[in-house]
């Protein structure tokens, strides 16, 4: 490593003001050092509206623990969007590859693109694996998983990881899906259950007569649920029902949940004004509908960098941490977390947080 250090330094001097990786990626877009990318090697349809993507990550990939998720950056219509997806593959079975399994949400820009439009060879931006929805260091004696829809994806990775290592404890999996043919990763699940007798797979098809999660149903399918380390991942309704039940039993400490829909704040088109929280300074202010965030910040005693005050010089861009804003020139409401917005021509559309 130390021998390459002077070489790297020379390379940086030669390519200034860019970085060596800016040229390396001409040869292979995965050769980045600042960020991380992955190439889509295969797109496998799972159900009518879900698919698994096999990814080959770049050399900077640091590996993952089964159950963790990654943030995936994908360009849709030229615009980059970031979403979180659980890895549905176990590190033991990967051969250097990763798999995410995506369900296309109706109207979901990114999920629709990943399931229906993306082709092998495409390159995605990637984060390192994150999250604590994983097996503990010491495996529990008995485990229970309660999952719904695409919430099966991190659990699939956990089950396969433990199976590959031969450490899968007595495990019950309650999985909710609308119909038999809509079970994401269904064939793999059934195959795993057939190969691992200690895995008790309970598939509940809620639109074919199966009931949604409720305490009596749990009692019937897994009478010793109180004694089990439990993980749950799925739609919000399922998660809150499970959380309530565990809290009522005073067992919240034994339950780990994973929410896979990020907190989104979408303002309605007619949202007017809102509270502004300036995250860096800790200052709060009430923002009016027709007043720019820049004006408001100055009135609140802040002095943000700015230039033209009319939206042309981009000297005032600041990071939107949460919420949405209205473009004072067009009236259009826009914004996603981490967007850089021009504060001289933006007013809050509902409550916002901005990095100032």
């Amino acid at each position: 490593m130390s021998a390459t250090q002077p070489l790297l330094q020379l390379a940086s001097r030669l390519v200034t003001p860019l970085l060596p990786e800016d040229y390396a990626e001409l040869i292979n877009p995965l050769w980045t050092t600042r960020g991380l990318r992955a190439r889509v090697e295969q797109v496998t349809p799972e159900t009518a509206d879900s698919a698994s993507l096999t990814l080959r990550p770049g050399p900077g990939w640091q590996g993952h623990r089964a159950g963790q998720f990654v943030r995936v950056g994908v360009d849709v219509d030229g615009v980059r969007h970031w979403r979180c997806y659980s890895l549905s593959s176990a590190p033991e079975q990967s051969g250097g590859r990763l798999r995410i399994t995506v369900k296309a949400i109706p109207g979901g820009r990114v999920s629709q693109h990943l399931v229906h439009a993306i082709t092998p060879g495409s390159v995605l931006e990637l984060s390192q694996a994150q999250g604590e929805f994983t097996w503990p260091a010491a495996m529990p004696e008995r485990a229970l998983f309660i999952t719904g829809g695409s919430g099966i994806t991190p659990v699939m990775a956990m089950l396969q990881s433990a199976a590959a290592r031969g450490t899968l404890p007595a495990t019950t999996l309650l999985h909710y899906a609308p119909r038999t043919d809509e079970v994401i990763l269904g064939p793999a699940l059934r195959a795993l259950a057939a190969a691992q007798p200690q895995l008790n797979l309970q598939l509940i098809h809620t639109r074919e007569g199966g009931a949604h999660f409720h305490p009596a149903q749990l009692q019937g399918l897994c009478h010793d649920w109180r004694e089990r380390a439990t993980w749950s991942c799925g739609p919000e309704a399922l998660l809150s029902a499970v959380e309530q039940h565990w809290q009522a039993a005073d067992l919240a400490a034994r339950l780990t949940v994973e929410r896979f829909r990020a907190r989104t704040a979408t303002a309605s088109a007619d949202a007017q004004g809102g509270n502004i929280r300036f995250t860096r300074s800790g200052v709060q202010a009430a923002g009016a509908a027709q007043e720019s965030i820049l004006d408001r910040a100055e009135q609140a005693g802040l002095a943000p960098a700015h230039g033209c005050r009319m939206g042309i010089c981009h000297g005032c861009t600041a990071r939107l941490a949460c919420g949405q804003v209205r473009d004072l020139r067009t009236g259009q409401v826009h914004g996603e977390a981490d967007d850089l917005i021009q504060i001289c021509v933006s007013a809050p559309a509902g409550d916002i947080e901005i990095e100032l």
Binding site: L10, P17, L18, D75, M310, H314
Partner: protein
């Protein structure tokens, strides 16, 4: 006197009454909206492809310069290629990325807040003087320091002084060392000549500039030549030539943007309480286009569409060509001039102005 040249500032803004100016503005807003709504994958592919091409050309040209060791004509070819690569990087990529034209892609690597260009001028200083000062106050005397860059007399409204007898010489020096002129612009070195002292903030700006510029100097004039060992000098000469090619070309294109005959200048009084419609009108009257084909457009960073660029500085440059006929038709409808001519005409009248304004304007001699 004002009648003898169409470059004079106009007492009240000409051409449009208040109502017409606002409706003109609304029509331009509508053009902007249409482009904003149709930005997409094709545009993103354009800038990414261009960046790849530019970097490929740069690497290839630097490699070609080294093969000059075996076949000397390669020095020349390589220098030209590197010059073209620098032009593309500075003009169609760097200048436009730093305007925020590609911020909508939300790619942090192609973003106005992160881009640093292959030029001795640091991006932050450029964005202040160019995006803010020049684009907000376009052609307003006393506000837009791009009118003559503090060293040239490019408007009759600039009072003549004996210093301006050097106009042709200073112009030639600026052309030859254009990137250094750009780099020194934010530090306002001209204050030294005018007031005998620098502004208090200039020292820090000069330091910031040198931090960036020395890396550029080290790269082009020390490290790449040194890698050629005994062939240090011819590689150095090739790199100097490449920078010179970029300097001369970008100087010429940029001077054609606001100095050709027919371009208007404005007084501060004229832009007081300026509405959006009148701001658009000033951008139109203060800018000039260069006619040409696709090669001219890409090599000029689409500043051949200077009018469209000044109306919409943050729309992606690849779309100016499609907006231009719409803007021109709009101007025709409102009876407004649309200053567009071939390069030789725009640069010819600019050069004529450099020479003519070296001397006092008739009627002004007595004052001077």
């Amino acid at each position: 006197m004002n009648t003898s040249h169409n470059t004079s500032p106009t007492a009240a803004m000409p051409y449009l009454n208040d109502e017409q100016a606002e409706s003109f503005g609304r029509e331009l807003d509508a053009i902007r909206e249409r482009i904003l709504a149709s930005r997409g994958a094709r545009d993103a592919a354009y800038i990414r492809r261009l960046i790849r091409t530019q970097r490929g050309l740069e690497v290839g040209s630097r490699a070609l310069i080294y093969t000059g060791i075996l076949a000397p004509p390669a020095f020349v070819l390589g220098a030209v290629g590197l010059g073209v690569a620098k032009i593309l990087e500075n003009m169609e990529i760097g200048h436009n990325v730093m305007h925020g034209q590609w911020d909508w892609m939300r790619d942090p690597k192609i973003h106005s807040s992160t881009w640093e260009w292959d030029n001795t001028c640091p991006a932050d200083q450029w964005k202040r003087t160019h995006n803010h000062e020049h684009h907000t106050w376009t052609n307003v005397l006393g506000k837009d320091r791009d009118v003559g860059y503090g060293i040239l007399r490019m408007s009759e409204q600039q009072k003549w002084q004996p210093f301006f007898l050097l106009n042709p010489i200073n112009n030639a020096l600026l052309a030859l060392f254009f990137q250094w002129g750009v780099a020194l612009h934010d530090s306002e070195m001209d204050q030294l000549r005018k007031t005998g002292t620098l502004k208090p903030e200039s020292r820090a700006k000069l330091k910031g500039m040198w931090r960036k510029a020395r890396k550029q100097v080290l790269k082009d004039y020390v490290l790449f030549p040194a890698l050629a060992g005994p062939f240090f000098l011819p590689v150095l000469a090739s790199n100097v030539a490449a920078n010179l090619i970029r300097n001369l070309w970008s100087y010429m294109i940029i001077f054609c943007g606001h100095f050709p005959d027919g371009v208007h200048q404005f007084t501060e009084a004229q832009v007081q309480n300026e509405t959006r419609g009148r701001w658009y009108l000033r951008q139109l009257l203060g800018s000039a286009n260069i006619q040409g084909g696709p090669l001219m457009h890409v090599m000029s960073g689409n500043l051949s569409f200077q009018i469209e660029h000044h109306l919409f500085p943050d729309l992606p440059s690849n779309r100016y060509a499609e907006i231009a006929p719409q803007v021109q038709a709009l101007c025709q409808r409102y009876g407004l001039p649309y200053n567009s001519a071939p390069l030789y005409r725009q640069f010819g009248t600019t050069l004529r102005k450099v020479f003519r304004l070296a001397l006092p304007t008739r009627g002004e001699a007595a004052l001077a």
